[in-house]
Structures are given as C-alpha cells and as structure tokens.
Amino acid sequence: MLLDRLAELVPELNQAFLETMYMVSISLAVAIMGGLPLGILLFVTDRGLFLENPVVKSAAGFVVNMVRSVPFIILLVALLPFTRWLTGTTIGPTAASVSLSIAAIPFFARIVESSLREIDRGVIEAAISVGASPWMIIKDVLLPDARPGIIHGITITTISLVGYSAMAGIVGGGGIGDLAIRFGYYRYDNTIMITTVVILICLVQLIQFLGDRIARLTDKR
C-alpha cells in the first residue's frame, strides 16, 4: 500500500527535510551577510555614484562573475578542499552549506545591485545635496527604497538554494535531494522520488508565498 510505504518513510523524510532547512538557512544567512554588502559595493562604486571607484568596481564585478559562471556542481567539487579545511569533512549538510554559501553570495549580491539600480538617481542626488554622508545615504535612502526588491531577492535566493541543496545530495550533502538520489535514483523507488518532488514543490510555493507577503507588507510606496 502506498500509505504504508509512506508511513515507513516518515522518519527518513523528516530528517531529510530538516537537513534541507538547515543547509538553506545557513547558506541564506551567509548569502545575506556577504551578498548585501557586496551588492551595495557593486552599486555605489559604479560610474557617477557617490563612491565611484572603477578599480574596486571591476575587481568586485570580476570575482562575482567568476563565481557565477562556474556551474554549481563543479563549484561543489572544486571547493571540497576548502570545505574540508573549514568543517573537517566533505559530506553531510554542514559541508554542503559551504559551497552553497559561496555560490549564493554573488547570486544575491547581483540581485541587491539590481534592486538598488531601480532607485531614481535623483533621490540619491537629493540626499547628497543635503550633505548626507555615504553611510547615511546607504542606510537611510538606498536600503529603505530598495527593500521590496531586496526581499524579492531573498525569496529568489532561498528558492534557488532549495534547488541547489538538492544537487548537493549528489556528493552526499544530505537533505531531500540526497534522499531522492539514494532511494529514487539508485533504487528506482518511485514513491520516494515523487514524494520528494512533491515536498520540494510545496516548499518552493510556500517560500514564494511568504516572500511575496512580506515584500508587500514592507512596501510603503
């Protein structure tokens, strides 16, 4: 019976789900902590902006593009030595979080940069014309006005991380993806395969729904 089979799987699914949440949370936190400042840096050092700096801009842009152009699966493998150095292991959700974070930082940084680009340059000029410092402009003009865009960016990043975390399963990263590969792919267990896919679909829908909700609540425009 399908239901019996599912009931058997509950503990496995439960753990896989928690592992996925764990990986996504860690890497999302790192992506925000690293990507937000990096995205702001990419924006404010751009031509014509208040901290214009072509050297910093192109250096940061280059690194971001480099990381983004490497397919995730290759990044995952390439980062194994670094992961081992950092976490002492190369398998399990903690290890997987390392490469997920590294991939998510530039991804989120670009999203932050493009939401900042949406802000009317005139508003920034008005802030400059009252004598505001760069830090004040970032804190009191750029971030509040870009907030809805940044929240959308967090939603997109979270959803991408759910997808990538499933890929991390290939190298034994744990989580729902790992489960799907171990049971569904290697053992041709369709029940598990379909169940994991359904869980992932629901998870993504839920994240999107929450993200849109929060973005709307914080949008004061």
């Binding site: 009317d120 005139g122 508003v123 000029e125 008005a126 802030a127 400059i128 014309s129 009252v130 004598g131 505001a132 410092s133 004040m136 009191d140 003009v141 509040p144 006005d145 907030r147 949008d219 004061k220 425009r221």
Partner: protein
C-alpha cells in the same frame, strides 16, 4: 554672495566631449531671487548643479560667501552643502519614508539630536503648510504637496542659498503660483538667496529680481528683470519675453489702415503720464487705440499701446515728435500705413 568665475563643465563620455557650461562668470547677490532661463540643453542645470558641486566643474571656481567650494575636502563640502538647499522638478523624495522622515533626514545628516529634529521638522512643516501630512508617504501626496516637502527638506539646515531646478515645471498653473508665493515668502522672511531655473517667463516675471539668459552653455544676457523685459538686446531674450508679453502686433491689425500706426512702449512711471491726451489736445489729429497690453513686473508697468493717428501728414509728424520729446524713455515706432 555666490561668485562663479570662469566656470567650465565638459562632459566626457568615451571619446565624445559635450560642453555643458562654457566659461560662465556670474555674481549672485545675497537675498536676491536670480533666474536662469534658456532652451533645453542650454546648460542651466549644469550651471546650477555646479553651485553645490553635484557636478564637479572642469575648470573655474564657485565661491559662496568667499569660500571656494572647489577647494574643500569631502567632509567640508558636505557641511557646506547643508547650507545650500536644493529642490528638483521631480521632487526626489524617498518613497519609503514619511513626510516627517524625509525632512528629518536632512537634519540627521547634519548630526542633530532627536529632540532638535522633532521640533525643527514640525516648524518646517508648519511653514510649508503640511502639518497634517506629517505621517503620509510621498505616494499619497499631490505634486504641489511633494514640492512643499522638498522645500522643507531643503530648508532644514537653515541654508543661505536655495537652488531650484525647474521646481514648478511639473505642476499646474495654480499650484505653480502657490509654490512661487512660498518661495517668495522664504526669500523675504528668511532672507535666503534663491537661484532658480525655469523655462517659463511667467515664473521670472512673477518673482525674479535678476535673470541670466543661457544659450549653448554661455550666458548671453544678464540683468534686472524689468530692464531686460523693457530692453532685451539678444533675439533669444526677446523671444522669451514675447512669450509672456506678446507685444507683437497681430498682422490683421496692421493691414488696411488709413492712418499712421504708432507703437508706444511703456516703461516705468511714464506709463501713468498724460502724454496721449496732451498730444490729442495739442494737434489736429485723431487717435484710435488699436491694441494694448500692460504687464506689471515687480509692480512696475510695462506694456504697449498701438495708436492709429489720422490727420494731415505734417500734423501727424509733429504729434509724433511731440510724443518723442515728452516721453523720453518711451519708444515711438512708426508703421507704414
């Protein structure tokens, strides 16, 4: 006092060089309302934006009260900018902040305490008549109200100078008038020097003391508004002035006239003189008023009156001579009948 000396601003985009402002020297006195007019692309905004260094001059300098802004460090410049307010055509308010917070931002930038900020913002909102919109967001305001917020923000740190880049161009005529009255009040009550850009001569006529006319990055004519309106030298200035005064005589009025057409231009006090009635009494000519318009610029009348003088040729000539003599400053322009 704002002293602009040999200001040049060249924009370089790639290999292309665009001249924004070419060698402008200009002095704007304390407490005056100074207008800058000119067609699109003349360099008005560029010039204005060089006054608070939003645009860094390619060469030349800008001194405000003797301090050369081009010589300041970043931090000194920020402090100097707190004393130079600026308002914009499209207001440029922070969309995610309330009216209160938009104005408070300027005070925060100047490092004021919470208490000071609260008191000052309330005073400013009262001055611009927006106390009841304190907690509204910009999207909930009309254009005129948004510009009032912009003005409150610009005046937050008690500036000596207020720069206005087409501050009324996005507003309807009624709202434009209200904003102009507010600017006038600010100028008179707070003694703030106002530099404003506009392409509407109506705005100039209403509030400016002096104007500069710009073309291709240069100031081609500059002077007292009344003087410039009365005696424009450059064709461009004349065309701007005609846009509000419409001193041109309609074509159909000139045609098919029996007598000699005389165009009197009124200036200053002469307008209230009795020259016409004296002329009609002294000479055997008949006067027929064909066209007339009087504008008051800074409470001084300026206008034209077109008369058709009918009578003996020599008598008409003597009448014209008489008017020439009597009016001094008046211009008598003959039109072939």
């Amino acid at each position: 006092m704002i002293e602009i000396q040999n200001l040049v601003k060249i924009y370089e985009s790639g290999k292309q060089k665009v001249k924004g402002v070419q060698d402008v020297s200009l002095t704007i006195n304390d407490g005056e309302i100074f207008g800058i007019v000119g067609y699109s692309g003349a360099g008005k905004s560029t010039l204005l934006r060089c006054i608070n260094m939003l645009e860094w001059p390619t060469s030349g300098n800008v001194k405000i009260d003797g301090v050369d802004l081009t010589s300041l460090s970043r931090q000194e410049l920020r402090r100097a900018r707190q004393k130079i307010g600026m308002i914009f055509q499209h207001f440029h308010l922070v969309r995610s902040k309330t009216v209160f917070d938009n104005v408070a931002f300027a005070l925060k930038a100047a490092g004021k305490s919470k208490q000071e900020i609260r008191n000052k913002v309330d005073d400013l909102l009262e001055m611009v008549g927006l106390q009841d919109k304190r907690d509204a967001y910009p999207s909930q305001l009309s254009g005129g109200q948004k510009q009032r917020v912009g003005i409150a923000r610009a005046l937050a740190n008690d500036p000596n100078v207020l720069l206005c880049d087409e501050a009324t161009s996005a507003l309807d005529p009624g709202t434009t008038r209200q904003i102009l009255l507010l600017l006038k009040k600010i100028n008179q009550e707070l003694g703030i020097t106002i530099v404003l850009i506009t392409h509407e001569m109506g705005v100039v006529k209403e509030i400016c003391d002096r104007i500069a006319v710009m073309q291709d990055g240069k100031i081609i004519e500059c002077g007292e508004v009344y003087e410039l309106f009365a005696r424009p030298e450059e064709p461009l200035t004349r065309s701007f002035i005609d846009s509000v005064l419409q001193l041109e005589l309609p074509e159909h009025l000139v045609k098919n006239r029996r007598g000699t057409l005389v165009r009197l231009q009124y200036r200053g006090e002469a307008a209230s003189d009795t020259v016409i009635s004296d002329m009609l009494q002294s000479f055997r000519v008949k006067g027929n008023i064909i066209h007339g318009k009087i504008e008051y610029i800074q409470n001084k009348p300026l206008g034209i009156l077109v008369l058709e003088l009918i009578g003996d040729e020599s008598e008409v000539k003597r009448a014209i001579d008489f008017m020439h003599e009597r009016t001094g400053g008046l211009e008598v322009i003959e039109h072939a009948a």
